[in-house]
Assembly symmetry: C2
Homo-oligomer: 349 residues x 2
């Protein structure tokens, strides 16, 4: 009889365990579906390019723009091209606290990657460039960038290459003089508008099983629950709004900043814009240290914890910081193969 009871109990236990397991799995699946639904609303999957009505993407512009991206001969000392501060090998950032332009001139802020950059409300940390085209154009005469004395001097260099004359003509066929700095900017802009990097996170949003690890899924939940996604929204996980850096405490309390940066105030001169910066795109953030507008923090885990303190007023536990970092790694995307092929630039001879 004892055996019978035991058998009955075991059967009951097994049945209960199976039901519990089934419920957990379906709860987990339901939880994951709900997470995908929420994440799709607030964040969303990466589009295939970042189009612009003012500068339609054409193969001719992209081809030319990619060459110009590598062209150092339009800089005053012949050493600066877009790729100097945006080397593709380092995910199109440069790994420095602050970028270095012609004749070793230091830039005022840390170098953002150009991957997924055309998606933003503006370019640069303080939004003083309206678009990737505007950024490319102004870099040519920028004192800490290419440092050319004038746009005309850069146009003169470009016109001296027969191959460039042909390529500008092909990219801008209706322009009587196609080799202009505005078209230089448009070509580079068109190239940069193709620089999107689909990541495991996008596969997860499409419902691909196993695209994210359990820790990355926890990190995504925490990223939304803790309020990070309030500012770092859109498929680009940022780049859509300006926000004060240090909502709860002064940022320099936790960063290793030297002097305090007035941020967007230097552009607008409005008191409300003091210490305000553009919320950066977090795609590929794990590949583009150091962090913040001044590149003052080296480790992503430190940056996440500091953001918790400064922006949402929370002392995030290390385990959750680890989860969020794991999720941010799921934003490291694949760079399209053809983007990684270096073009050969023309020679005068």
């Amino acid at each position: 009889m004892i055996t019978t009871i035991f058998r009955k109990d075991r059967a009951r236990f097994l049945a209960a365990a199976i039901i519990l397991f089934a419920v957990s799995v379906s709860a987990f699946a339901a939880g994951e579906e709900e997470l995908i639904r929420r994440a799709s609303q607030i964040l969303g999957p990466l589009p295939s390019s970042m189009p612009s009505a003012e500068n339609p993407i054409t193969p001719e512009k992209v081809r030319l723009g990619k060459m110009l991206f590598y062209e150092p001969r339009v800089s005053i000392d012949g050493t600066v091209s877009c790729s100097k501060c945006h080397p593709l090998a380092l995910y199109a950032a440069d790994g420095l606290r602050k970028s270095v332009g012609h004749n070793c001139a230091e830039n005022p802020r840390n170098d953002p990657t150009v991957f997924n950059a055309a998606s933003q409300i503006s370019e640069h940390w303080v939004g003083n460039r309206t678009s990737v085209e505007d950024q490319a154009k102004q870099a040519v005469i920028g004192p800490p960038a290419f440092g050319m004395p004038s746009y005309e001097s850069a146009e003169k260099v470009l016109r001296s290459y027969g191959e460039y004359r042909d390529l500008f003509k092909a990219a801008f066929p209706s322009d009587p003089e196609p080799v202009t700095i505005d078209n230089f900017a448009k070509a580079i802009g068109a190239f940069e508008r193709t620089l999107v990097t689909p990541a495991p996170f996008d596969a997860f949003l499409r419902g691909e099983k196993g695209a994210l690890t359990a820790q990355q899924i926890r990190g995504l939940s925490a990223f939304m629950d803790q309020g990070c996604a309030g500012c770092h929204s859109s498929p680009f996980i940022g780049g859509q709004i300006y926000q004060k850096f240090g909502l709860f405490e002064p940022y320099e309390k936790y960063t290793k900043s030297g002097k305090v940066d007035d941020g967007r105030f230097v552009v607008t001169k409005k008191e409300a814009d003091r210490r305000v910066f553009k919320v950066p795109v977090l795609r590929n953030v794990a590949m583009t240290p150091p962090y913040f507008h001044d590149g003052s923090v080296d480790k992503l885990s430190d940056a996440v914890w500091i953001m918790g303190k400064l922006q949402v007023g929370k002392d995030l536990p290390q385990e959750q910081v680890g989860d969020i970092v794991a999720f941010l790694r799921a934003l490291t995307g694949r760079i399209p193969d053809d983007v990684m092929i270096v073009p050969v630039l023309p020679s005068l001879e």
Copy 2:
């Protein structure tokens, strides 16, 4: 009868013309064959790689070496990698009169391309680097290059990346500590030993019809007849001997040099080595201006005419200079596709 005579004459004329044409063609073909024979002896077709007994080329070394070629984090200011002075977009030279290293330090001489460079008796203009491996190693602590305080400091940087530890282990499996500066140099050396660029000239030597234009063929003849090939010999069209720059007149009479460079004298301290330089490889020369050890001449045609005056004591007519330049353009090679693909470098996070 007049018509008959005319017909007869015409027939004779036609027969004569046909014979003359056939003789010319066969003479031309014989001349071309003879030219191929001579050029094959003195110059010769490019090999498929530039092997070394001390540093056998393996896929693991090449893969790692290509990544290290792009790695700026082993430089003191984080801005210098091999690719800084050897950007592939500019045929692995940099287009400057003299290269610029860390913190804008100027190099003493013009930057030679790394394409086909491993073929030479030594590296650098004055032969103060014994091989591409030696060059890569010494660049790390070179004051106008990477500027690291010691080899150990560079090794420490490399060891901080897990991906590099794995890749060094894979490339040097029998080494108890694979991440060393010597292995850094060997990996980059192995990559550079694959950087050969087959050109139309090689197709011509293989007998491919139409590989060179008539002008390029005249230029090749002139290149050999005028004595250029006396120094610019081997399949690499140079790189095999040292020679005084200015055999007939002081070089600064024609170049736009500032101060005179003692050349290899600075290495050997022998009087005979004053103003002596390594004869540069001329493959891809049309793609790598400016010219000479000090980059003082911009145009290839000027460089060719100056070489005629200085090295063979001849005032080459402009037409022949044009022919030789046309031939030199036939040395512009195709860069292997896989070489042009930028590798992604590891991140700490």
